[in-house]
Each structure stands twice: as C-alpha cells, then as structure tokens.
C-alpha cells in the first residue's frame, strides 16, 4: 500500500519560528541571527558593537555553541543580558531552542536581541529562528571564495559583514571577487567592512540597523 503524505519536514521548526516572530513583533523587537564559520569574529564583533550601541539600543544576546559558556561570559562582562545555549553536538540552533530561552528575557524592556548562532557556514542557514534579520559574517582570513562555496548562508542574508579588515594588507583577500560574487548571489544585501579592533565600519552598520528598526 502506498500512502501519499506531502509532509514538510522543516514545518515543525517553521511553526515554532513563526510563534517566536510573533512574540518579537508584539514587543517591537529587532532580532538578529548572526551566522558565520567558527572564528570569523562574531563574539569579538559583538563585544565592540555592544559598547558602541548600548546607549542607543537596549540589547540582549543569546549565545549558541556546541559546548562551554566562554562566549556568554565575554558578553556578560560587557554588562549585557545574555543566555548561553549549548547544543551538545548539534551543528545549528533551531527555533525551539530559542523559544525555550525567551523566558529568561524581559522582551518588553529590550530593543534588539542578537542571536549568535553556532559557528558553521552550512547548517544554520536552513533553520528559521523567527529573526527579523539574518546577518552573515565572513573574515578576510577565510578567503574571498567562500560565498561561492557556501552560497546559502549568503544568498538569504539581509546584510553581510566582512570582518578583520585590518588584516587586508597582509592577506590575499580578493575584494573585487568577494563583492562581485555577493552582487550576483544577493544584490539587495548591504555589505559592511568591519574591524572590531579599530571600530572601522561599526557606525555605518549601526546606522543601517537603526534605519531597519524604524520600518
């Protein structure tokens, strides 16, 4: 006997993501899903950006890692409310994990919730968390070919941050190729060149984010 089913496998995650999104919208909360490979500089970027943005936005952070609370400790040291999720082996955050942490935050008192996904340029791209904006980071040391090799993470991003730009004089990162690929894959996403150590690009990024919040 053959049974026609048509069961959407990712629907379970999508239903929870939709509920998360409704909760975020009720509180006029801007939610970012930060994605990159491990070591691209997501946490260092956040540490620097929190200091710049905290007088303009009330921030909360969810840290996703396979193990340890190292990243949450770094964010907590900035004085920001933070919850660490350990996935114990799983390569991505899913909407259910986010839903279970929301009780730790007073959403009404936040303007922006940043979700730092598990460092992985592949798997997180398939899982909607209910975020407002997907932000993909790439560091100059990883090479300009990565958007071609891992297109999903870049194709569906609302913004792309190129990090560690202070290293551009020392690494063979082909900026023309990088921008060319992104303009083919995702012409609508703005690209910000960021250096967390010098603060380069942080203000432009913040201004863009604030403009998205006013929509």
């Amino acid at each position: 006997m053959k049974v026609k089913l048509g069961y959407p496998v990712l629907q379970a995650n999508q239903a929870i993501a939709d509920r998360n999104r409704e909760a975020f919208q009720r509180h006029f909360l801007l939610v970012l899903n930060l994605m990159s490979s491990p070591g691209a500089g997501k946490t260092t970027f956040l540490e620097r950006w929190i200091r710049l943005a905290e007088d303009r936005l009330r921030l909360g952070v969810i840290e996703g890692d396979v193990a340890t609370t190292l990243d949450a400790e770094r964010i907590a040291a900035c004085g920001t409310e933070v919850v660490q999720i350990n996935t114990h082996g799983a390569c991505h955050l899913d909407a259910g994990m986010i839903a279970r942490t929301l009780g730790h935050f007073d959403l009404a008192r936040l303007d922006c919730l940043v979700i730092e996904n598990v460092g992985n340029l592949v798997c997180p791209a398939d899982f909607d968390l209910g975020e407002t904006l997907r932000v993909t980071l790439l560091s100059t040391t990883e090479g300009a070919d990565k958007p071609e090799k891992y297109p999903a993470a870049f194709r569906h991003a609302d913004a792309v941050l190129l990090t560690k730009t202070d290293l551009l004089p020392y690494v063979p990162f082909d900026l023309t190729r990088f921008h060319g690929t992104l303009s083919r894959l995702n012409p609508d996403a703005p690209v910000f060149q960021i250096c967390a150590l010098t603060g380069e690009g942080m203000e432009q990024w913040t201004q863009w984010l604030l403009s998205r919040r006013e929509r």
């Binding site: 053959k2 049974v3 089913l5 496998v9 990712l10 390569c91 991505h92 798997c123």
Partner: protein, 81 residues
C-alpha cells in the same frame, strides 16, 4: 550533520501516518529534497540506514528526489499491515 535530526523528524512523521493507515511494516519512503537547502542526500541516506527501526523494516529504502527550490517533503511511503 543536521541530517540526523531531519531523519528523526521524517521517521516520526511516517510512524504516525503508518499508524493512521494501519500499516505495521514500512519498506519505502520517498523524500523530496530542494536543491537550495543545505541537505546532503548522501548524509540523509547514511543517517536513515542507522536510524531504521519499526515500523521501518530492516531492508526499508529511502528514495530521494532532488528538485529545484527549498522544499523538504516526505512525498509518500509504502508499507503493509
């Protein structure tokens, strides 16, 4: 490696539907995988082999059709009471 958690979801959906249709043995599942998803058919097949259990028979097969787009669907399955 998220294919393992996807196979868990697929197995649970088929298990539930098989009960509804009174099927105790399932020997084939047809899956549609969208090309734009970061889902590897080979990894799906590998996870499926390791996560087979009732109502799936030990020789149950997973047929995968890759299509354009972002769908991930259990299109149908075959079994017997």
């Amino acid at each position: 490696m998220h294919e393992v958690s996807l196979v868990f979801g697929i197995r649970a959906a088929v298990e539930k539907a098989a009960r509804v249709y009174g099927l105790s043995r399932v020997f084939k599942i047809k899956l549609v995988v969208g090309q734009d998803l970061m889902v590897l058919p080979e990894a799906m097949a590998f996870a499926f082999e390791h996560l087979k259990r009732a109502p799936l028979t030990p020789d149950a097969v997973l047929e995968i059709e890759v299509r354009p787009g972002r769908d991930l669907l259990v299109e149908n399955f075959e079994g017997e009471p």
